[in-house]
Amino acid sequence: MANKQQQTEITTRHVNVYYGAKQALFDVNLAFPKYQLTALIGPSGCGKSTFLRCLNRGNDLLGHTRVSGEFQFEGRDIYDQAVNVMQLRSQVGMVYQQPTPFPFSIFDNVSFSQRMSGEKNPHKLAAIVEKSLRQAAIWDEVKDNLQQSALALSGGQQQRVCLASVLAANPKVILLDEPTSALDPVATAKVEETLQQLKANYTIIMVTHNMQQASRISDQVAFFLDGKLIEFNATKKIFLHPQEQMTSDYLNGKFG
């Protein structure tokens, strides 16, 4: 375990992102340890979601976005011309703020990525669906209704079905963009518990507005402000002894 924690899964160096003429990120250097949960915090518009989207090349889809810098994922630069972007996205999965299950059955939702990569064997698909739903801690709630539309579920259940869909693609890294901000406290607690368990097998990077959430479940915290990385440290250190005045001001609610 100690050995595991020393490995880094994703390393970024000198990341700059521009939306047209406007620069959204300035020279961000971050290293994400394997099998740990890193929280990205900061006020709205500070660039944390932009940074998160860079990690699975989600910014490619937005148009007139320019990304520069180095993104090492398992020793390869993910912005290399030769990279298979579809493969990258299934290895670096993303869960969004609003639950976005497709208007299909729960089974079709969770098996989607596997079906898209050509898996047709119904037994294999069923096994993957069950495993993913179990990992996302929602199997017991939906196992009798797999053919029901995913849209019929509650928001919290939908979010965990989305998580299961991402897990079914066999990712190594899971990105979460404020995954609980649209959920009630009970559903939030369930998602947090699920993430705690997933940490054993996945590297998790999560954007959150919720300071308590960051302090509860993250191992590291990166604090962004105005497109710059202000401070990056172990969660305890950030919350108890922030090195930067701005971090402490933000955590104490002086702005944000």
Partner: protein
């Protein structure tokens, strides 16, 4: 006593006037629609009640002979078949094309698509049908004549003109259908590792399928009801359309061709009203079909709320 409490005010009178306007407009529309239905229906059944044409014969026979009043031989079967055939051919030609254009506008290049292609297709929507017929007559007919022989007039010419006419209808409704799929589904699909092709086929087309079907149904309805352009190129001969180059006549083209040449309350005139009734029933069926498809897809979606 509080007098103001019982006084009428300007606002209240305005309110009453507004309500009066709305209800009177509504009444006019309702009366018009009902009168139209009654008129077409009563005139349409006169063929069977006054002229004693057998209703079953009318549906199944293919001759259109109204001159011999002793033994009239009257049947709309050939007309119905021709209408169905031209419509079907037109929709088969147009639907794939319209889908490709819609996908281009919505997914491939929203910039060029939205600024150039979409306005162009909408422009097509505004061209009067007589112009389509004229273009068919002057460009298509000579081409078909040289290519396949014969006169050039016939089912194929009519189908192609119709195909062009319903292209903008189906395209613009398909664009609406595709735009109706929330962006979040596309984003999520991409983030699960989908290619653009997979996003289009397995997310966009799949989710918008009911609305795309409605787009096609409206295209069918428009093609089925189009009269003038078809009449100009189909050759206007009442017979079963056995080949693509057979001159034929549709329900609508027969109506436009003959309507100036009959005398009221004769068999020839009543028979045309019967055709109108048939058309009315058909268009009601298309509308019901579209409503049914939409209601089914909406009831499926409303589970989410």
């Amino acid at each position: 006593m509080n007098k103001q409490l019982f006084n009428s005010s300007k606002e209240i009178r305005q309110d009453k006037l507004g309500r009066l306007l709305v209800y009177s407009a509504l009444t006019v529309v309702l009366v018009l629609a009902l009168a139209m239905l009654y008129f077409i229906f009563s005139k349409g059944i006169a063929t069977f009640t006054q002229n004693h044409i057998n209703f079953w014969d009318f549906l199944t026979r293919s001759n259109w002979n109204t001159d011999n009043l002793q033994k009239p031989d009257l049947g709309a079967w050939a007309l119905m078949v021709t209408s169905a055939e031209t419509t079907l051919l037109a929709v088969l030609v147009t639907t794939p094309l319209a889908l490709v254009i819609a996908i281009y506008i919505v997914v491939m290049s929203p910039k060029i698509g939205g600024r150039i292609v979409q306005p162009l297709t909408e422009l097509l929507l505004g061209i009067p049908s007589v112009v389509y017929g004229f273009v068919g007559l002057t460009l298509l007919i000579p081409f078909l004549r040289n290519w396949a022989g014969g006169t050039g007039f016939g089912v194929l010419a009519a189908s192609l003109v119709l195909a062009l006419m319903i292209l903008p209808t189906i395209t613009s409704l398909a664009v609406e259908a595709l735009n109706g799929v929330p962006q979040s589904y596309q984003t999520f699909a991409y983030s699960l590792g989908c290619t653009k092709w997979q996003v289009i086929v397995h997310v966009l087309l799949k989710i918008s399928a009911p609305n795309l079907l409605v787009a096609v149904i409206f295209g069918v309805a428009r093609a089925f009801g189009e009269a003038l352009a078809v009449q100009m190129v189909i050759g206007n001969t009442v017979q079963l359309p056995l080949g693509l180059f057979t001159p034929a006549a549709t329900l609508t083209s027969k109506l436009t061709t003959d309507m100036g040449n009959t005398i009221d309350d004769t068999l020839a005139s009543n028979a045309l009203w019967s055709l109108a009734l048939l058309l009315l029933v058909m268009s009601l069926i298309f509308n019901l079909l579209a409503k049914l498809v939409l209601r089914r897809s909406q009831s499926r979606e409303s589970i989410s709320r």
